[in-house]
Amino acid sequence: MSSITGRSTVDQVPGPTGDVPRGRRRLGDTLFGGAANLSGVVVIAIVALTGVFLATRAVPSLLDDKVNFLTSTEWVPEPGNLRFGILQILWTTVSISVMAMIIAVPLGVLNALFLTQYAPRWLARPAASVIDLLAAIPSIVYGLWGIQVFAPHLTGLQKAVNDGLGWFPLFEGPISAGTIFIAGIVLAIMVLPIITALSREVFAQTPAANKEGALALGATKWEMIRTAVLPFGRAGVVSASMLGLGRALGETIAITIIVSSVAPGTDFFASWLQGGETFASKIANNAAEFNDPSSTGAYIAAGLVLFVLTFVVNAIARVIVNRRKAFA
């Protein structure tokens, strides 16, 4: 039994003297509460220290940057003559992630609805574990599969898109061997299990009373899902998508294998049918050469942007979730 304050009502029964007895705190309580508080503090400290580390290492290089960090496409972090800008990298990172989310979110949510609302029991459980297994495949396997097995099958589609919509900057040619398009699809498969698993959990928690109520009022199955299951699971789906997006933004090895990098000095382009480097793949491709603090700083600055980007995206998601709650 609990009261509105969340405190056990037993604690609030006045003692013989009239005040609420404080009681001896038990050892288990102290230990557990301490452990929970500590882990909370540790996580916050890790994130804060990461931010501080990135910022302190990046700032000296940023100050020495001879070109505009945000609007340049150059990347020549030569000690003494630092010229680096993130425009192309930012665009590639965002493009690949957006594309992955466009595919993975609807697919994941529908998948979760199928597993919780439509599939018969005997099918739902094994199907769910097969999808979870997708998350256990190492990303290097996704990368090699993506470029060697999957990419050749997309050649025709990419060519058709380029032929028909080539006038649109997003689909400009010439088509690369490893495109943002291919990487986006492979990444969608990689984040699918995360989105599906979390959405499945929240959808399964929909109170039976809500669902039955909707059905009793004459709703069809689709209407029941729309009025009872989806609103209940909305916050969970947004969280699931954010976790998926986090993975998409930070994915490294699959991207370095799939996407072609562009030759230095190439002007900015927006096409999804060409290559590029994301923040993570840029850092990975050059990690072997981190000899000089100032050029390393350029890559750390790129890492800092990724860090900030993740924060911004998460903050936006929080706002969305909270606003929906207020209007619900």
């Binding site: 297994l133 256990a136 072609s260 290559g275």
Partner: protein
């Protein structure tokens, strides 16, 4: 349910197997898989040492190192353990001068500023650069209907610079009379990130065709095209579609069944073979002193039958200063490595054997290590 259980188990097993294969490539103590059999043909006898030797560095010589150490040397000397971690030349030199490993494999000789640090690491004795593994760089291409193609430095530079964009360009046709060249666009692939192969290839282009390739030789690509990750990445990209061209270690071109262009060095078209690459290495001049055998390749060689684009990788060792057991093992291993029989065996996996005059000098230097 049994069906699902079985299929789930199978999936788990499959994923597990993939994961294990993934790890396998990093495990340098395991037996080298491809081309391992070739080592059995080498008959070099080793004077065995014992103990463990750790090396690190160039990935260009990894396959050679695997074959020579695991299937060759260790078959004869089971009491020795030789580990080689292919993390890259720069990392290898750093680990060596830092005293973390016993020797370094490197695509380039120690730089003067590194030599001082290396001498400190070797208890005040100089470190020597010993050329050990020579790898020709192939200009590999895939073009439907064309298996015999000749290029020279100037045309290659223009192709990789993006100035020649189709295969039937008159400049290419001029070097290939009698070959029907299609109008396929050329897709150029280069190595993403800093790479020793890029450095040697662009050094060749700049030395031989300075007007067409104006940038200095550098590990970072200065041309046009699409970047792919690693030698395997560029080779697979070329294998993927007709019209592709790249520069890559010979072994990768062989593994991916790519055509390799002949290179006209000014004295006629030269096919890439172990022998033709060896001829260029034989003309290299020694820039190190005494037993320090750092070489300078003459890319502009006009000797008939010499394939000019070669990369020599070194083993960087202390001339003195390792403990007695390690010294014995190192000398024994390197002697075995530089033996002509061992070197000839390397040709099967895409390397060029060291020419006799170089391997004799290397042997002398190894004998002088104490």
């Amino acid at each position: 349910m049994t069906f699902w259980k079985t299929s789930r188990l199978l999936t788990i097993a499959a994923v597990g197997a993939l994961a294990l294969t993934g790890c396998g490539s990093d495990d340098n103590t395991s037996t080298a898989a491809p081309g391992g059999a070739a080592a059995s043909s080498s008959t070099a006898a080793a004077d065995c040492g014992t103990g463990t030797l750790n090396g690190e560095g160039s990935s260009a010589q990894k396959n050679a190192m695997d074959q020579v150490s695991q299937t060759g040397y260790l078959a004869q000397c089971p009491d020795a353990t030789i580990n080689y971690n292919a993390t890259g030349s720069g990392a290898g030199r750093k680990q060596f001068t830092g005293g973390q490993v016993d020797w370094a494999g490197s695509d380039s000789a120690l730089k003067p500023e590194e030599a001082t640090a290396a001498a400190t690491r070797c208890m005040g004795n100089p470190a020597w650069n010993l050329p050990m593994v020579a790898g020709p760089i192939a200009i590999a291409y895939k073009l439907d209907g064309v298996t015999d193609l000749t290029l020279n430095a100037e045309v290659a530079a223009k192709i990789f610079q993006g100035q020649i964009t189709t295969w039937n360009d008159p400049a290419i046709a001029a070097l290939n009379s009698g070959v029907t060249l299609p109008a396929t666009p050329i897709s150029v692939f280069f190595r993403t990130g800093t790479s020793g192969t890029t450095e040697n290839f662009t050094k060749y282009l700049h030395a031989t065709a300075p007007d067409a390739w104006t940038a200095d030789g550098s590990g970072d690509w200065a041309g046009k095209g699409e970047g792919r990750e690693g030698s395997a990445g560029v080779a697979q990209a070329v294998a993927g579609a007709s019209g592709g061209i790249t520069y890559v270690e010979w072994s990768f071109a062989q593994d991916n069944k790519l055509n390799v262009a002949k290179v006209d060095n000014g004295a006629g078209a030269v096919e890439l073979t172990g022998e033709s690459a060896g001829k260029t290495i034989a003309t290299a001049t020694q820039v190190g002193t005494g037993n320090d055998l750092a070489l300078k390749i003459d890319y502009t060689t006009k000797e008939a039958g010499a394939y000019p684009i070669v990369l020599v990788t070194y083993e960087i060792v202390c001339s003195k200063g390792l403990d007695a057991d390690k010294t014995k093992l190192l000398k024994s291993f390197l002697t075995y490595f530089s033996d002509p029989a061992t070197q000839t065996g390397l040709q099967d996996i895409g390397y060029a054997p060291l020419p006799a005059e170089v391997s004799t000098k290397v042997k002398t230097a190894i004998a002088a290590i104490s």
